[in-house]
Symmetry: C2
Amino acid sequence: MSGGPTMAKNTMTGEERLIERLFRPIATHPAALGLKDDAALLAVPAGRELVLTADMIVCGVHFFDDDPPDAIAKKALRVNLSDLAAKGADPTGVLLSLSVPASIGGAWLQQFADGLRDDCEKFGCPLLGGDMTRTAGPLTVAITALGTVPEGQMVQRRGAQAGDALIVTGTIGDAALGLELRRDPERLSFGKLDAAARAQLTRRYLLPMPRGALASALRMYASAAIDISDGLAGDVMKLASASGVGARIDAAQVPLSPAAKAAVAAEPALFNVTLTGGDDYEIAAAVPEKHLAALRAAATQAGIELTTIGRIVEGEGVEVIGAAGEPIDLPEASFSHFPAPGQGRK
Amino acid sequence: MSGGPTMAKNTMTGEERLIERLFRPIATHPAALGLKDDAALLAVPAGRELVLTADMIVCGVHFFDDDPPDAIAKKALRVNLSDLAAKGADPTGVLLSLSVPASIGGAWLQQFADGLRDDCEKFGCPLLGGDMTRTAGPLTVAITALGTVPEGQMVQRRGAQAGDALIVTGTIGDAALGLELRRDPERLSFGKLDAAARAQLTRRYLLPMPRGALASALRMYASAAIDISDGLAGDVMKLASASGVGARIDAAQVPLSPAAKAAVAAEPALFNVTLTGGDDYEIAAAVPEKHLAALRAAATQAGIELTTIGRIVEGEGVEVIGAAGEPIDLPEASFSHFPAPGQGRK
């Protein structure tokens, strides 16, 4: 052996090769430094503030192990983009930490990366950095998303005022019903749905749609907002509690898709699932009456359904009122993986 | 039942209660909004750029399941702070995503949170936000750390120039030896170490020490830097490759602790482990000769050992030279959980 270099000049570890092949094409933002450094370097534009959120999804908890790899990547990204949207933030980029069981190979990871790339492009939110490691457990996808708002304009949970209209985007409950359907496809009520309705509910669980198209309008017109990830009733409660007010939800006004309506018609008890189930990734917001028409116009222009479902009121707590004016009792306001004593679902 | 609120006014899910109890006390930065919103809101000071890094650690891969909970939290934080330090960045805060197996209870989580709080205070890096979820697999801790540098002053991997001195902080190889010791305490060579030496190696694997105290000096004096997480030889290779230069490491100059020296004396083959094993979390940097004395003075003031171990040279690749001038062959330049074809350790 000569006295020359004793290590191959292009030695890359398997991890580096994978990152180069799978993720470098998505790291289009200059801040990512081509994923070739220890860290990303981001210049935040003058007059903007940074909005940061982190959500992790775990196989067997947030998705099924036979979900398509590209859909898993998209869900991981979208649940984070949903938070940015609810805060009125325009996405900047994401950091991805991925732990991968040995059962998952290169082809699966390529599909995952393809799905991530598609959505990073679709939502204008490139990869800035991240980490990849092995795990003896289920695939785990942790994303930190960064966005920006003009200084002082983040839409917070607090800020709702008594008298504000309570609005939601899209339709509520589809994803929670889609999860029930995935868990128990033979359940009688789901058997009464046609194939298209079943597919719609399943799709809404598989793949949420973040409402980023409404972000700038929320900044202008909403006094408070939250993304509905843990169930409508519970998340409205969080907004009301943070704002020091109460809220009244008119159950008959909660927008259900035709598929959800059919499911509830087949099994009325499923209505509570639509109000308290998770994974809607729609936005609930408090909107002063004087801004309601403008927000509605912006939503129409963005192709997003917007429905007034109740009102912010003095006091505290969330009251859900049925069609005949009767209070509806919800034993579980929202979904939690960590049930509190005497609370929580099985 | 009256027509009053049908949901308790302070309904919190188990997850919210845990977050409030464990993590809100650490969320001291105003950007965290008390962990009471969907996102953090951070104003980056004028003239500063943001440095972002994400590292995830997984039980059974990066730590042992009987490691103390507070040490696990500290390691998760410190491996991220090490990246910030190597980039010359001053820490701002972190986002934490935690997936928790059912076997882990509140007392364990409290110790974890206590450890995180201690280190967040110690390193001036409060919690800004995060997520907590269940997992059927091992505990997984994903942290995204944010820091800042004055505009244009991040220390990158690229930038090293032929002629620069190659320096490292601290001592090299202790953590990799500590891991070998954890895996095989009965290994003959470790049996020759005294209890203090064994404890020192074990401690260095358990708990790295990020070199943030040197961050501002690195900005002033280093032309390129990297944190040594995957092994000295491989990480110097990454720095050299990013800079379009080569590097020569004088093996005899690589600083070993007395404990590591004793281990290598007992089993000379362990020397390669010190050069290629991971988890040092020291910094390797290229430093122009004219700045070397100033950087050394800053290191002394910070109480950090700093050693010149070689030189940046024209060309490419990393050459490791033994005490007699002979080239040392390293079959594995650095550690990877994803071995490339024909490469990587068992």
